[in-house]
Symmetry: C2
Subunit: 334 residues, 2 copies
Amino acid sequence: MRNKPTLKDVAKLARVSEMTASRVLRGIGEASEHTKERVLNAAKTVGYVPNRIAGALSSRSVNLVGVVVPSISSFVFSEVLTGISAGLKPSGLQPIFGITDYDLETEETVIREMLSWRPSGLILVGLEHSEVSLRMLQNAAIPVAEIMDTDGDPIDINVGISHHDAGYQMAKTIVARGYRKIGYIGTQAKQDFRAEKRLAGFTKGLAEAGLSVLASERFSGGSSVLTGRELTARLLEREPEMDCIYYSSDMTSAGGLMHCLANGIKVPDQLALAGFSGLDLLEGLPLKVATSNASRFEMGKLAAGLVTSAKKGTLSAEDRIVKLEAKIDIGDTL
Amino acid sequence: MRNKPTLKDVAKLARVSEMTASRVLRGIGEASEHTKERVLNAAKTVGYVPNRIAGALSSRSVNLVGVVVPSISSFVFSEVLTGISAGLKPSGLQPIFGITDYDLETEETVIREMLSWRPSGLILVGLEHSEVSLRMLQNAAIPVAEIMDTDGDPIDINVGISHHDAGYQMAKTIVARGYRKIGYIGTQAKQDFRAEKRLAGFTKGLAEAGLSVLASERFSGGSSVLTGRELTARLLEREPEMDCIYYSSDMTSAGGLMHCLANGIKVPDQLALAGFSGLDLLEGLPLKVATSNASRFEMGKLAAGLVTSAKKGTLSAEDRIVKLEAKIDIGDTL
DNA sequence: GTATGTCTCGTTATCGGTAACAAGTGGGAT
DNA sequence: ATCCCACTTGTTACCGATAACGAGACATAC
């Protein structure tokens, strides 16, 4: 038999109906020990691998949950994905991942692609989506979770933190510790909504103390240690008086620290540093860089749990929306 | 209409047959402008999202490629995945990811799960698989690529480097530069086949110079900067005379550097460091840690290209097996 | 006018499973 | 012997698309 064996082959070999074979292999309903054994043996000898495609079509249910993230080459999202995997495990649902590259049009395509597989749920990052995406999501009769961000109107389930607030709190903290000449290093606007929200909150926090961002550097592409290091150098060149820099990510703030280490700049005496995320990476550095911890694993896990337990529209608003708090970790650099 | 609209709904609204609607929506075959427009409009007004499940079952072809990796919370694999995405793009195939946690039994489950979706190809990491996995893979009439490692017998397509050789070359390099008291820090054996192969090659390289690994520290779980830092401290405590440490990964070697920076140990005068992977992360550090660059993005992209262009058994052995070279980057720490 | 070819579009028969319901089978109670 | 019930197992009808083939309409060529 050159073609993949089907249920029919198994059934024929076990001399039962396809239905019985199907039941035995899925472990549902009753079956005598005798037939059970025969079916199992038959499946093994023909090397049967079930065809999910057919099964899904027939039963109108797919054990997949679509997960759409901006990027996977970032610790932030890999931790979220790990959390999602963990949260999905008890339900037997499988995550399938899609990547948007921080682009709403790409996201639209990915969402359509995902929905075409008729998944049991969808998990997206952020609250910003194209019109068309929103329409598709509303029409899809499945639970949809938006994670990481709570500054906006969720479609259905929402688990995350307020990035505006995270930025605001960090500004307050920095101001309270006496810094006055404050710079910012982050991604180019529009690319990363959440980073922009943090910056907005940060700016507001400074403004309440009569301050503003002295100077800033922006970059495009993924955040990396090297980028952080280079832009820190550039920023300090422009504004040597700078006494504190707020970064849009922990990778870049680590880069800032590296610049200081390599150039003998005393942290935090000469320059204070603060980032965002709470990445494990920071733990290993000579100084722990200040950050806001956005429990990413938790978020993923929680969202996955909610998606699996919810039929769309089933949960009350309180259960559906989970606002976590980004706790500031002062570290050694403020 | 509460249920998701199907092709039938579109066809009915456009007053054509389902077949015609199908053809128009897939853009194949001929259709008059008039009907094309009607179908497209109908699809838009009912909010049609094609059902891949049904389409795949009917056409017996699925535009998915399964990708099975040990972990996603590691830069190494996220770069590979990025490469795979890039390599798959031109063919219109979609990657779907599965995670094994470095466990062969889990891998077996994941492979079975993947195959049950009847993907057009499969990409796995490494050459070590369970008996059952091997059987399933051989029976699957699809191209299978094993990537990252070439030390062993591939099933079909194989793209990677020789880790044994990478370790061996690094040992030669280290010996040539005059280091004699050499330590090793890596994952616990069995967890990571490729790290063990590097260690074996490394040990062999040392042996040829009459040397051996003076002392080593092992860890379980993912490699992190912190782990590298802590184990470096421990190793140096045990063997203060150590003049060089070889790490199984760049994350841990970076941790080693952090330990040295934090404790005023001069690199490479007092202690030399070398890692493996060639992660971008290293670029931002005050000193660039020596490493073997295993072009991961390339590997992923190449493998994806081969998988898409190959019907199983179609390629000659030379085309099927691509051995890349892990070039040593001396950096500033040897 | 008939034949031939080109475009378009429709009909039929699956693809490989599963839900829902139907139907044997044998044992125990009456 | 009859009836009922619990267990098992089988039958039928799809799920939503697509491949393969067929057929009508119209134009061109002879």
